[in-house]
């Protein structure tokens, strides 16, 4: 199902099941993420996109099945090894989840000081570079998260997710709540970073423009599993009713046309 089947997957989800009480969210879900690709994950509201993300990064213990990160099962590892593995992941939460008691620069410097063993001055200098990398203005580093706009929060949170140069970047609706110009900028930023840092991206999104512009593959979550995971063009051809409504509805077509024109 992958574009190039020879590569070994960074993330492999096999037979994942998630149940909350009597409500089953995932049943026998399979998914893989390959190095350097941007995978878009779409699905209706309540189809378990965020639960899937949380299961992969180890915030949610699945009811069944297995998640292998870099060939290892995160939940079965000892604390130390697990932490080492987690340092290879960067997560951008939907609301940013910046630590409100730290400035933006300290937010980014925190993992550098804790895990890379840098001194405060070094960590903050490097953090400043990461902030510049994500396109934040120079004065933003000294601000507290409460005084940032929505777009700046996303960029600052992205800088924190990129702090340790992760191999895999998880994005939970990164363009939600951004204006179209900000969202388009974010898409371009994501492409630039992917090309420069060779980071694989797992992106949960509802943004059709993002899907067409940046994604190498799209995985559709439906009926409690991954219905299809393939290139955007091929996914849009899938005969499923929901997929057709999603990609070939009025918004889907407009986004596709726009993406082809650029």
């Amino acid at each position: 199902m992958a574009a190039d089947g020879k590569q070994t997957a960074l993330i492999e989800v096999r037979g994942l099941c998630n149940r909350f009480g009597s409500n089953s969210v995932h049943e026998n879900l399979d998914l893989a993420l390959y190095p350097g690709e941007i995978l878009g994950v779409v699905g209706g509201s309540g189809s378990g996109k965020s639960v899937l993300l949380r299961s992969i990064v180890g915030l949610n213990r699945p009811s069944g099945g297995e998640v292998r990160l870099f060939g290892e099962n995160l939940l079965a590892l000892s604390g130390r090894k697990r932490s080492q593995l987690e340092q290879r992941l960067g997560v951008l939460f939907q609301g940013g989840a910046l630590f409100s008691s730290l400035t933006v620069r300290e937010n980014v410097a925190l993992p550098l000081m804790e895990h890379a063993g840098l001194g405060r001055a070094d960590a903050e200098a490097l953090a400043e570079m990461k902030l510049a990398l994500t396109g934040l203005a120079a004065h933003a580093g000294d601000l507290y998260p409460a005084s940032l706009s929505g777009g700046m929060v996303k960029r600052a949170a992205l800088a924190r997710a990129l702090a340790l140069d992760p191999d895999v970047l998880f994005l939970d609706e990164p363009t939600a709540g951004l204006d179209p110009i900000g969202a388009a900028d974010f898409d371009q930023l994501l492409l630039t970073l992917r090309n420069a840092l060779r980071v694989a991206v797992f992106m949960v999104t509802h943004d059709l423009d993002s899907l067409w512009t940046v994604c190498d593959r799209i995985a559709v979550l439906s009926q409690k599993r991954v219905l299809v995971a393939d290139t955007p063009e091929r996914v849009a051809q899938h005969e499923d009713e929901w997929v057709q409504a999603y990609f070939n509805g009025p918004r889907g077509r407009a986004a596709h046309t726009a993406a082809r024109e650029t």
Partner: protein, 377 residues
């Protein structure tokens, strides 16, 4: 040829003629080694030629160090001229160079220390003044809302009121009773020790009775309520504020004062006198127990002495309860409204609410004690 080597696996910088050959892992994991290495390397002068074939891994941290060492401009020049670099390394270096050469923010202007201290003092005094103004304003608003509601009984929120009475009053009974019982016992022990030296142990009963009827019952109950309830009010209203629920109420044409503040204030004003009664009873019970067990004063004699204490002492104590309750509730609610967005702010204002309300309770009690002494009650 100049050579420096940190250790076998780490990073190297070598010169071959005018070429600079880099080697090893230029990554975050080797950041400190890299930095030490580059500190002792003179920055090469003249035309720059880099050889990155020996570099096993390069990430943003390594690229940043390289760009800072050589200068972003020079690295950019080399990058433009170079034809051999792998495309992903070129993309990484270009991105990092762009980030590193961003205009730094202008440094904040440094003021003399004395001036900073003076400005700090001024800001503190001003904030105290503003705080006092705000508290007065808030009290006024609560009273205004209260009186306007008095004439419109159909807008009384009975469910919210009863709920708050249960939360703040009924559920607080065990802790108030236990605490004042213990303090009553301690006061009795204290009295027995001091008065015993004059052979006046019997006056221990009077000591406990006067202390609890006039002061300890109401003050202890009010302080407990300040710690238990003012903090809860601030946290509840503060999280609602952070979640924009207060704004949502206003846009729906509802008054947060009427919906949230009045039931809380009224609940406290109604329950603190009752809790004060519980506190007085528990304190007296504690005193009676100590009197019985360690001073051999039988319960009958204890009650006879108690019956001789004039009623006005009880009324003086109880009369302060509604005032304390009002102050504690108003401060708790007001601090909730002052919360601004973040989780840290909720914590700060909760602390502030508890400290302020305890301070106000003790201050008001001291003023009241002076007043009653002068009046002779």
């Amino acid at each position: 040829m100049q050579r420096s080597n940190e250790n076998a696996t780490a990073v190297t910088v070598e010169r071959e003629g005018d070429r600079l050959c880099l080697g090893g892992s230029w990554t975050l994991a080797h950041y400190r080694a890299l930095k030490r290495l580059l500190e002792h390397q003179p920055v090469p002068a003249g035309e720059l030629t880099l050889q990155l074939d020996g570099v096993r891994a390069l990430d943003t941290a390594g690229a940043t160090l390289l760009a800072n060492w050589l200068g972003a401009q020079r690295l950019q020049h080399w990058l433009v001229a170079d034809r051999t670099l792998a495309p992903e390394r070129r993309a990484l270096l270009e991105t990092v160079i762009k980030a590193v050469s961003r205009e730094p923010a202008p440094p904040p202007r440094a003021a003399p220390l004395a001036l900073v201290a003076l400005a700090y003092l001024g800001a503190q005094v001003e904030s105290l003044y503003r705080h006092f103004l705000q508290l007065s304003g808030f009290i006024g608003l609560v009273l205004q809302t209260l009186f306007s509601l008095l004439l419109r009984p159909w807008r009384w929120r009975m469910t919210a009121l009863v709920n708050q009475i249960q939360e703040t009053g009924f559920n607080a009974v065990p802790i108030v009773a236990l605490l004042t019982f213990l303090v009553g016992a301690v006061v009795a022990f204290l009295g027995a020790t001091v008065l015993g030296e004059f052979g006046a142990e019997i006056y221990t009963v009077n000591l406990v009775a006067y202390a609890f009827l006039r002061e300890f019952g109401v003050v202890l109950a009010a302080i407990l309520l300040a710690g238990r309830t003012a903090s809860a009010f601030t946290a509840q209203i503060g999280s609602m504020k952070a979640n924009e629920e207060l704004d949502a109420l206003r846009t729906l044409g509802l008054n947060p004062m009427e919906l949230l503040v009045i039931p809380r204030v009224l609940a406290l004003v109604l329950t603190l006198p009752l809790l004060t009664f519980v506190a007085i009873m528990a304190g007296l019970a504690g005193g009676a127990l100590v009197a019985l067990l360690s001073l051999d004063i039988p319960l009958g004699q204890f009650f006879r002495i108690l019956a001789d204490v004039p009623l006005r002492h009880y009324l003086v104590g109880l009369g302060k309860a509604p005032l304390f309750a009002f102050v504690v509730a108003v401060i708790g609610c007001m601090e909730g409204f002052n919360v601004s967005g973040s989780a840290e702010s909720v914590g700060q204002h909760t602390t502030s609410a508890v400290v302020q309300s305890i301070f106000m309770v003790i201050l008001l009690d001291a003023v009241a004690a002076l007043f009653f002494m002068q009046v002779g009650w």
